[in-house]
Amino acid sequence: MALPSPEQIKTQIEAGVPGAAVTVIANGSPSAQRSLLLDHAHARSVAEFLRDHAEWRLDYCSLMTGVDWLDAETSQKVKVKKVVQAADGSESEQEVEEVRKTKTPGYLEAVYHLFSMEKKHGPVVLRMRTTDRGDGARLPSLTPVWRSAEFQEREAFDLYGIVFEGHPDLRRILMWDGFVDYPMRKDYVPPVDEVPVVVPQRPGSAGTPSEVHR
C-alpha cells in the first residue's frame, strides 16, 4: 500500500495528536518529495504516532541530518511617494523607487527520512527548525523513538551545534572532545595552524642552512 499525500498525513497527525501544528514544505526538484515541518512541543508524540500507526508503520528512520540556513536578506523594489525639493527650491510630491530589505533570521534544521520495513514504503520526511543559530539551537531528540538517530543526532550536535534535548548520550562523535566550533556550519572559518616554523641552524654558524651550504 502506498503512503497518502503529505497533506493527508498532516490531517491525520493533527487529528491523532491534539495540539500538533504541522506545515507541509514544498520541494522544487523533480523528486518532488515534500516534507512535514513539526513544532517542538509535539515532535516526540508525532514521531511515536507515525511509528505506531497501524497502516503506515514507519518503524525505520533511515537518515537524520542537520542543515544550516544562514541569515537571509531579500531585497524588494517598492514605489514610494516622497516630497522632493527641486533645484529652484520648490517642493513637489513624486514617486520614487526605493529598495527595501527584509531580513529573515537564520536557523538550523534537522531532517529525518522515515521508511517502513514492515510495509515496505516511504519515505516520509520530517523537519524541525531551531529558533535561531545561537542559544536557541535546541530541538527535541527523536532517539527515544528511533534508536537509529542516536549516532546521527550526535553527529548533528558535533558538526552543527544542535542540542538535542532528551538524547541519552549527547557527546561529540567525529571531532575530539576539546574542539570548540561547529565545522559544518556555513560560516565556519577553519583555524590557521599556528605551528612555529623552526629553522634548523648549525652550531657556530650565523646564517640559515641554505646560506651555509652556498
Partner: protein, 380 residues
C-alpha cells in the same frame, strides 16, 4: 627470599572489580583506526563505547565546496573497498535531484559492476572474519585471490583497481567492450565453484560453530529500530533489501532471492554473506546474458556546470554494507547546498554495545568483524 617473592605477587583483582580496557585504535582486529572503550568484569563485557573519527576529513564539507561532478572521485574514498557502489549511490541521488534518465545499457553495466563489488566485499569480509577467529591466512588468501580477479576487471574497465571513479550522472564514463564482457562471463562461470570451496572450507568446523553460534545476538525488533541495514539486518530475519523494495536501476528484471537468517548471531551473519554471494552470481549471470547494445550516456546531460533546480532529493541503494544513501539540497547553484551521506557502516555500529554486553572480551573482536565496517565511511 620468601619475602621478596611475596612482593612480586601477581595483582589479584577483588571480586566484582571493574577493569577498563581500551581496545584500539591500533589493534589489528579493529580493521582500521577504531577504538572500543570496554569495561570488564573478569572477561565479561559490562560496558562498551565505540570511539571513532580518527579518519574524519569532513567529506561532506569538501563536497559542498565543489561542483556536483567533482564529488564523484571523493565518494570512491568513503567505503574504499566498494567504490563502484558508492559512485552509484551518489549519481542516483543527483539523477533524482535533476531528473536525469539513464540508458538501459548503462543500467546493466551498473548492475554488473555493483554485483562484482558485492561479491568481492563479501568474500573479503568472510576472509577477515575467519582470520579474526584464528584461521590465519588461508581463508583470507582464498578470498583475496578471487578479489584480485574482480579488481583486474575493474582496472581494465575504468583504469583503476579501487578508486574507479566510473559512473556519471545519466550513465557511465566509458563503455564496456565485448571482450571485457566475455571476461566477466568467464569469471562468473567460475565463481560458483569458488563459493562452494570457500563455504566447505570452514562452514561446519567445530571451532567456528562454537565461537559464533549464539554469540552477539541482535534481536529483530532492535535491529529495525536501530536502523541496521544490509546482510546484518537480514541475519536477524528482517526481509528488507533496497534492491527489492525500490527496484532502482533494472533490479526488477532479475530473479534472485533474499537470504534470511533466523538467530541473528555471528554465525548467521557469516552465512548471510556466503548465501548472498550465491545470489549475486545469479544476478551476474542474468545481467551478462541480457545486456542490450546502445548508448551508455545521454550526450546532452551536462556533467560540468550541472545546476539542478532548487529542491532536495534522497537517493539510496543496497550497498554491500547496507543502505547507502545520499541526501542533496540544491539552491540552484553549481554546487550542492547540503550533501549528506547516510553511512551504513556507522549506523550499524549503533548497537555494537547491545550485542557485546555479557559476552567475553575475545568475542567483541568477532562481533565487530561480523558488522562489516570500513572506517573511511564511518568517519568520513
Amino acid at each position: 627470599m620468601r619475602d621478596a617473592l611475596a612482593d612480586l605477587a601477581v595483582y589479584e583483582p577483588e571480586e566484582g572489580e571493574i577493569m577498563e580496557v581500551s581496545m584500539g585504535p591500533h589493534h589489528p582486529s579493529t580493521h582500521g583506526v577504531f577504538r572500543m572503550d570496554v569495561k570488564l568484569e573478569g572477561e565479561r563485557v559490562v560496558r562498551l563505547k565505540p570511539v571513532f573519527g580518527y579518519l574524519h576529513r569532513n567529506h561532506e564539507k569538501i563536497a559542498e565546496h565543489g561542483a556536483y561532478l567533482s564529488a564523484i572521485p571523493y565518494t570512491d574514498r568513503l567505503d574504499y573497498l566498494c567504490s563502484m557502489t558508492n559512485n552509484w549511490g551518489y549519481v542516483l541521488a543527483v539523477e533524482k535531484l535533476a531528473g536525469i534518465a539513464v540508458p538501459e545499457r548503462a543500467e546493466y553495466i551498473r548492475v554488473i559492476v555493483a554485483e562484482l563489488t558485492r561479491f568481492q566485499n563479501h568474500a573479503g569480509l568472510v576472509g577477515f572474519l575467519l582470520q579474526d577467529m584464528g584461521a590465519s591466512g588461508t581463508p583470507l588468501m582464498y578470498a583475496f585471490r578471487e578479489r584480485e580477479k574482480v579488481l583486474d576487471l575493474f582496472e581494465s574497465l575504468s583504469g583503476a583497481r579501487m578508486m574507479c571513479n566510473y559512473m556519471r550522472f545519466g550513465g557511465l564514463r566509458v563503455d564496456a567492450t565485448a571482450s571485457w564482457l566475455a571476461e566477466v562471463r568467464q569469471l562468473v562461470g567460475r565463481l560458483p565453484r569458488f563459493v562452494d570451496e570457500f563455504e566447505n572450507l570452514l562452514r561446519v568446523n567445530e571451532i567456528l560453530m562454537a565461537r559464533t553460534q549464539g554469540v552477539g545476538v541482535l534481536p529483530r525488533e532492535l535491529a529495525i529500530n536501530a536502523g541496521v541495514t544490509g546482510p546484518m539486518l537480514r541475519a536477524s530475519g528482517v526481509n528488507y533489501d533496497v534492491r527489492k523494495v525500490d527496484h532502482y536501476g533494472v533490479y526488477d528484471r532479475f530473479h534472485f532471492r533474499v537470504p534470511l537468517g533466523e538467530h541473528g548471531d555471528v554465525y548467521d551473519r557469516y552465512m548471510m554473506r556466503i548465501l548472498e554471494m550465491r545470489e549475486t552470481v545469479k544476478i551476474l549471470e542474468q545481467a551478462v546474458r541480457d545486456i542490450p547494445a546502445g548508448p551508455i550516456i545521454d550526450p546532452k546531460v551536462r556533467l560540468r556546470g550541472l545546476r539542478p533546480k532548487a529542491g532536495e532529493a534522497y537517493g539510496r541503494i543496497e550497498s554491500p554494507k547496507g543502505e547507502l544513501g545520499f541526501f542533496l539540497i540544491s539552491d540552484g547553484t553549481g554546487n550542492p547546498y547540503r550533501y549528506r551521506v547516510r553511512p551504513p557502516s556507522m549506523i550499524n555500529l549503533t548497537i555494537l554495545e547491545d550485542m557485546c554486553l555479557g559476552e567475553n572480551i575475545a568475542d567483541t573482536v568477532i562481533i565487530l568483524g561480523s558488522v562489516d565496517i570500513v572506517l573511511g565511511e564511518v568517519d568520513r
